[in-house]
Amino acid sequence: MAITKTIRPGLIQIRVLDLDETLDFYKNIIGLDEVGRTSDGRVMLKTYDEFDHHSVVLRKADEAGLDYVAFKMVSEEALEQAKLDTEKFGYPVEVASDEQPGFGKRYSFKLCTGHTIQLYHEVELASDYPMLRNPDPWKEEPRGIRAQRFDHLLCYGPNIAEAERYFMEVLGMFAPEVCNTDDGKRFATWLTGGNKAHDIAFVEYEQPGKMHHFAFYLQDWNDIGHAADLIGKYRVKRDVGPTRHAITRGQTIYFWEPSGNRIETYAGGYAAYPDNPQRVWDVSEVGRGLFYYEGELIPSFLSVVS
């Protein structure tokens, strides 16, 4: 399937409470490489398997949580069109002014759910990226849980029905799977711009701007098991798993990094096609949808956010 508008969420900036301790975790447990630092001391990171300049930025702050997530558009024209369409949709757009080395122009706006979303097209290749000529799977053995890419995130906030409409109408994404309340309102939605089961998901929540988790893609169920071994060995604060989602079919573990941001390791998941019919969950069944082996909701999953 050709991606026509929005390629993927390619950049996420996270607030952390203790920079050194949390950075060590991202490098040695998650297995990210440090790309460099911005002039104001934020740390740029990427996985061994990503091509673009960097994908994860840590900013030291007084609160944990999400600063913003940025989506990569297929072309400069698609970016400019998305900017106009975002304004037409009703969200004022600015040019992002914070420094992101390697990145070209980024547009920034606030979604109804309280999350800051950015859009960009231009980004330099990283100085160190995967092999292209007769490539090995990796240049050096991946470290830690062997994260392959920043995969997706789950946001909590109000009025997700409007957010879903934005991503579909303006960014050309679709929702392979949704969950509705008994009176037919959206309780959760999983959205993608390509073939991945989801690039971003939303759960309806009173407080705006909350992040439930962001996820790194792992190769397979074996690597999920390996990640669980590291969680045990290094006494990482685990939330749920290893288990499987019925929703998106992914295999997963949730845990918290040292600043209290929840991370997911995600493998598998179905290939999403825009012509396939949408899968729909009743809210009474969503526990099974999220935690298929447990067959019920884990209470911390809905109530704990950063």
Partner: protein
């Protein structure tokens, strides 16, 4: 060194070592207002009120969950503090 922690709501006490996060002592003894998520000072689920006694805050607490006024009132995250005396605590409630 060990301190005695009293939960006024259940009237139960338990011990906490001076090098032990208060939340860990609650988990070890199954006493006190045990409620937690991230264990890292980010989610605010382990919020408690220290009514009496001294402690150190060994880990940064998210401002989103503990304002400076609250901190001045000894409202804290149990995963981020260690006692330096006996404590009297209770679960945080809005009123």
């Amino acid at each position: 060194m060990e301190y005695t922690i009293l939960d006024v709501e259940t009237n139960e006490s338990f011990n906490c070592r001076e090098d032990e996060p208060l939340l860990s002592a609650m988990k070890r003894t199954h006493k006190g207002p045990i409620q937690y998520g991230c264990g890292g000072g980010g989610c605010g689920v382990c919020k408690i009120h220290v009514l009496n006694g001294d402690f150190i805050c060994f880990k940064k607490m998210s401002r989103a969950h503990i304002s400076s006024e609250e901190y001045a009132d000894h409202i804290v995250l149990s995963c981020c503090i260690k006692p330096t005396s006996n404590l009297i605590i209770k679960k945080f409630s809005q009123d």
